[in-house]
Symmetry: D2
Amino acid sequence: MSLLFKGGRLTSVRRDVTRFTSSIQSDKRLLKPVIKINKAHVIMMMEQKIIDWPSGAQLLRVLNELEKGMRLKPSLEDVHMGVEEEVIKSAGPEVGGNLHIGKSRNDQVSTAIRMRLREDIINLVFLVIRLQEQLIKLAKRHIKTVIPGYTHLRPAQPVTFAHYLLSYTDMLERDLHRLEEAYQRVDLCPMGAGALATSSFPINRERVAELLGFSGVLENSIDAVGSRDFILETLACLAIIALDISQFVEDLIIWSSPEFGIVDLPDSFSSTSSVMPQKKNPEVLEVIRARSGLVLGNFVSCAAIMKSLPSTYNLDFQEVTPQLWESVETVAGSSDMLSKLIIHLKVSKEIFSKPFLSFSTTTELVNILTRKYKVPFRTAHKIVGALVRHLIENGLSLADVTPELLQTIAKDTSDLSLNIKMEDIHAFTDPMEFVKAHNARGGPSPTEVERMIKIRERWTILSRAWLSEKKSKIGEAEERLESTIKTYSAP
Amino acid sequence: MSLLFKGGRLTSVRRDVTRFTSSIQSDKRLLKPVIKINKAHVIMMMEQKIIDWPSGAQLLRVLNELEKGMRLKPSLEDVHMGVEEEVIKSAGPEVGGNLHIGKSRNDQVSTAIRMRLREDIINLVFLVIRLQEQLIKLAKRHIKTVIPGYTHLRPAQPVTFAHYLLSYTDMLERDLHRLEEAYQRVDLCPMGAGALATSSFPINRERVAELLGFSGVLENSIDAVGSRDFILETLACLAIIALDISQFVEDLIIWSSPEFGIVDLPDSFSSTSSVMPQKKNPEVLEVIRARSGLVLGNFVSCAAIMKSLPSTYNLDFQEVTPQLWESVETVAGSSDMLSKLIIHLKVSKEIFSKPFLSFSTTTELVNILTRKYKVPFRTAHKIVGALVRHLIENGLSLADVTPELLQTIAKDTSDLSLNIKMEDIHAFTDPMEFVKAHNARGGPSPTEVERMIKIRERWTILSRAWLSEKKSKIGEAEERLESTIKTYSAP
Amino acid sequence: MSLLFKGGRLTSVRRDVTRFTSSIQSDKRLLKPVIKINKAHVIMMMEQKIIDWPSGAQLLRVLNELEKGMRLKPSLEDVHMGVEEEVIKSAGPEVGGNLHIGKSRNDQVSTAIRMRLREDIINLVFLVIRLQEQLIKLAKRHIKTVIPGYTHLRPAQPVTFAHYLLSYTDMLERDLHRLEEAYQRVDLCPMGAGALATSSFPINRERVAELLGFSGVLENSIDAVGSRDFILETLACLAIIALDISQFVEDLIIWSSPEFGIVDLPDSFSSTSSVMPQKKNPEVLEVIRARSGLVLGNFVSCAAIMKSLPSTYNLDFQEVTPQLWESVETVAGSSDMLSKLIIHLKVSKEIFSKPFLSFSTTTELVNILTRKYKVPFRTAHKIVGALVRHLIENGLSLADVTPELLQTIAKDTSDLSLNIKMEDIHAFTDPMEFVKAHNARGGPSPTEVERMIKIRERWTILSRAWLSEKKSKIGEAEERLESTIKTYSAP
Amino acid sequence: MSLLFKGGRLTSVRRDVTRFTSSIQSDKRLLKPVIKINKAHVIMMMEQKIIDWPSGAQLLRVLNELEKGMRLKPSLEDVHMGVEEEVIKSAGPEVGGNLHIGKSRNDQVSTAIRMRLREDIINLVFLVIRLQEQLIKLAKRHIKTVIPGYTHLRPAQPVTFAHYLLSYTDMLERDLHRLEEAYQRVDLCPMGAGALATSSFPINRERVAELLGFSGVLENSIDAVGSRDFILETLACLAIIALDISQFVEDLIIWSSPEFGIVDLPDSFSSTSSVMPQKKNPEVLEVIRARSGLVLGNFVSCAAIMKSLPSTYNLDFQEVTPQLWESVETVAGSSDMLSKLIIHLKVSKEIFSKPFLSFSTTTELVNILTRKYKVPFRTAHKIVGALVRHLIENGLSLADVTPELLQTIAKDTSDLSLNIKMEDIHAFTDPMEFVKAHNARGGPSPTEVERMIKIRERWTILSRAWLSEKKSKIGEAEERLESTIKTYSAP
């Protein structure tokens, strides 16, 4: 409990209790926003004549000083009382004692979290855009790099590495939109909601919101102090990003195994074993994969804390905030590291030398039977299935197929007479030809992928514009706040 | 495994295995969408000349018949093979065997889930709007009904029941926006993505999307079949709604206890004990509270399933979908039941007869000392704190405060001479006066609450407009689909 | 609300409300235990002279009838009122109306869940033992089947398939112990705790517990009705089993890919694609993998429901039970299916033909350098690491190592003169030799694995003994109950 | 990556990558165990003649020095390489370079976690026992303190505060048993499992286990390095303790509200508001409640990380461990603080002055009607239910019941003639009489509670004996290790 409360309602609080309930460790992130909020609040109180001009000016000067070098002692109850104590120490109880008129820790903490989170989301949006940009950059190098596409972790159909990389660009685009939409709900100002019922002083909530660069006021005062859905929403967005990334990373771990041998990880992002000298372990990727689980756990912690809590402010909220910061840092760190890593990825040029990968184009044989020889699709599917079974069981590959073999199998499985030209059988076996033929919208063909890349490049420009706009808005508000202080705090 | 695959790639599948992997139970929700998708796909194939006109017409007639009365047998592998089997049975293998040209279960299932989910979100949005409307309706009755506002489950400051109810209207408004934004990402069509690489047939993805009423195509074909972030996002939205509701319900459970006695629950939504005849248990509210935990669990299930899964389609996805439906139904049920219940809530008129609630206006005494007697806020706060402690320890109430007592305490705690008029001491004690004085934006004062109600009424009108628009769009697409079929299927 | 309550404390309940709060769907699992509990309770009441002998006898006869064919109508509130209503209908209100003396739904439902859960755990223990037995059976076939052991999904050191399989036997052994320990806490009888304060009738709690085959009474009556930690504990046990299994299954999915090619899945447990005829997808394994996530989600649901609930009985508990049953069934189903599948697994005989797998024995070269040539371990590790790098970069394999090459590299990396015999270089390259040399306790060498298999076979015998004992105890109690009823219910 | 690996398999690692993957922050907890493990390992190597005696002696001396003052630099990869680097620095590469013979980080890290966790569980068991002891101590003061028992947060039946407190003693007893059982599985030594396949050196795993005070060896070497179920199990135990505590704390929060007024919280464990001077907020309890959610989240993080991970060691494990430590500290802190708080709880003496609480004894009126007047229980229940409804609707209390009123209501609801004596009506109304009459096993009557207290006191003695035994075993092993070192390291 803050010393400011001593001798009031409660006689005393034990030091071990204060240590137990203190949020000061996590509050470090909030020190700057809390000082800014106090500044904006003082300006508003001066303008509204809630405090007199000289007192206000003195408070502003003291707050300016604080901003330069204040440290939070670990013995403090929280950042809010810490700042007020310092202000009273510097400005004296007569002047400093009025800092807290018309506000409460309840509205102040929610405002401070939102201010800090705005910056964190902006940084995160930047990192996600950069990851998209690196994916696109890499994709441009690999428009004609054919790789096997997998479903159920089994070779399915050839695609290109570019086509694959773009699928993550697109997931990340949705992730970005979710973050930007969450930002809108974060960017509202609770100040003036007080403990839960606003204040009987003639406060001006819009003015404080404006000085802090918010896009508006979070209106209903009970809602303003009692809601943390903006945190849950942000955590959900983070969890989904982390899960998207975890799938990409899982692909890379599997694909960089010598068995798959599709990509080669950069040495500088790998590590070896303390025992087995031949090892090159995908440590960075494993850490990213694991940390996606942490974000999910943090979401659960916060959701469980919020569930069935009585409405308005409860101290339980205090335990929610550190989970948010941890998740923000985790996802930011993973996105950043992944951006740095992927640009060094090398794709093997000999992937399709594996005999079993020849089967990945068999869908096209089905299609040819259907398109050219008018075999019903489902029948053609069965014939080719039986053909593959026959080849595998006899240790043969697709190169061994002859019109006669196909004819025999068609007869056996479907009682069908087939008379297929040799050239049609082998037309479909080249993976690059397969890819080119898959030219429908969104498909792997180089022309289609090139078209998509251009559009995605435009996406990143739009996202960067969003970023600039939000940053400017906050920057301008900061300048306005400082210039107002300069004017108002002149002795 | 479907019989259609028998004799192809794999020799046989055991019945217990099919039962184990079958999704048919949950697929019931998808039967109608799957038939519609097949219709749209056939129309597109006819237009693109992938199949000939008479075959297409026959397929459409068969699908029309199916739609009327098809049942899913529990022995089926899934709805997709179920429908294809039926079509082949009716249309014969020559014609029916071509139904699956240019598509795959991978794109079809994602499309079907999205179509069904569109309807479910629309229904949910409706139920949330109705809950808001009931809250507003109830609020209008209680603009002057003063209740104690709580923080930390301790009486804090008086507010009104209307002010309180609006705080949930506002939370639900954000919940609605999240759902509507999620809808945008649900409302995209994966059809044509095929297994993961589109098709070498000249398919027209935009045409299928249009016929199914989607707002666009989900472009990259790997992304289209391999992403389930739309489900995670919807589940996160549902979880947040459920958590918001759980807090409201927790308030009602506590407030309807005889000890709190703030609200009275309707008999018809309560139950009694099998043993204790005096009991009136808040069973409906308890069930709603508990079910909010289920939605969280479902989110975790799905997130854990998706984490580190190799990209594109894996059968793991099949286990995700039922969690989505369960959550949709849970939140819909809870919202619906809550709407019905709250309108019968009665608020006690004798709440403030409890002596301890008199202390809930003491903030205003602090404010008066600060405003009128120029006592610094923090000092006034301490004096009044000590005053309250003195009163409680001596079994007194606020009515017992005299200028002399206040003077003594001010002297003792802060070494301050205070000379306060009797009338100022008691000016603040009436809860209704307190409420009126808290007239800042978003505060509990009746005028402010009336203003807010008007705005929120406009919100619900806007939301209903969104609802109509989405419903019409789907309805019009359905009509277009049916009329096209009529034209195309004429023999 | 049950009709039995109509006209008492509450006037009426709406049908939609009863449907909303009804637990009847999930209560089906509890019908038999509830009838048994009522029988035991009546016997005890007769013995304690709480009800007279003829009434008791009649109640027993009615309950016997009920047990034969009672169905739970979906309109019922719950199984408890359902049974009481039926008894009153048959025995009349004079006699039937006394069935509920000295008990409550609160103690009855916890007792019924525990009785049913005892059976479910017994069944689960059986399935886990059988999975162990299948693993051991398979291991016996593969004591000399060398496979690459992986860490970080990179070839690490050779082990045997038997050695690998036993690692899962051992995990499952711990899983079994946890289940058996949980069983101890499940196997306690809450009956007689009443609503929360026992009863003023002279009930005999030990007698009821004995008649129902419990190992004792769950003593404190508040604890008896208000605790669900036995469910959370069981769910945690289930989640850990599911996670253990998920790792085994993940190995099999990756190892059965053509790229890894270590094991071959049975056709009859796989499926093909609707589009790609060459596909053989590990569907059973994918479903098992995904369902492990469901159990985690169910644990979260229940934990979130229980968190911060006021003590004793709340209706929230009702939502916990179905999660338990779902998890029990999921883990039972997965264990069962896995037992059936694994026995058909085939291990490839050509695994080590892959050149890169030769490097998996390099640790042994380090060990030889250290053991025989007295090179410090860490230095030897570095030399061999550099050797491997050199070989890979030059497209060479271990067969290409010569004493000269090793000497050059030792000089370059560690400034060390090495003079190694050709025979020592190649002594270590055979994977089987590697495995034999790793003969420490718990290691992969065939003699050690054979020793371990014998011990694990004894484990399964012990576990089956536990199983028999628990089953007998329940069976004997059932017989005792029935024979007592026969005696007591004679007219 | 450690410098020891530089120039080997991989060329270099970037500093940002090492920072990203480093576990050094969390490894601080493992420094002491890791040094001890190295000591025991060296002793074993000396005895097995794997290294020569002078080298071994020197290594032991260096390790002894390290133990005194080693700090972990934040730039290190992990504690294992940190210790080895220091040893090589002090002992030189010839001698120090052999420290890692016959072991790996994989077995070492699991061993170190287990050693540290043993201590943490022992400490936790101590704290839980102390909480039980405080509950019992408090219970002894309140054997005759009647409080209303609640179900569904509605007054149900009178119990005593002692009876209530014992229900938590009993839950904690099960929590203790679970921890002790988990301890058994933690207390096994993985050392010697190496990377995953033991070693070709003649290591002695039993000897290392003995020197480190383990009760045995974790046998199968793949299982030994690859299993983390001991962490999941411990986390599940912690989560259940946290949830049990959260319910106790929720009761105290609600019961200490002025509305309930059952208990009074100590001032020194409460805090006030920055705005509302009358507030006395249950901050300690709120923090404990919230933190129970964190433990659940940590369990989810770890479970999600472990799900579907390939078997044996993956670096993902590294992210699991910090979650364990955080949870251990959270539950320890909450248990400790709660022990300190509860002993200061005061129970109000005027609880039953609230008129509505008189109804909490009505079950007894039902029982009397059944027992003495032979009204069937279900009929009596309905009559008394209707009576309560009549009284509440007419603003009356139980004191207003007359034989005539009861007769009228019995007639109206059940068409029954009742002729009840005034004395019987009022026999049941005293809560203390109610409590005394509930004298069945486990019930609230003072004689029964006294009996139960005695047994629970014996429980705590048994638990403390377990504690001593485990501590001694570890202590003796430490002494043995140190004395062996003294002998072996003599120059």
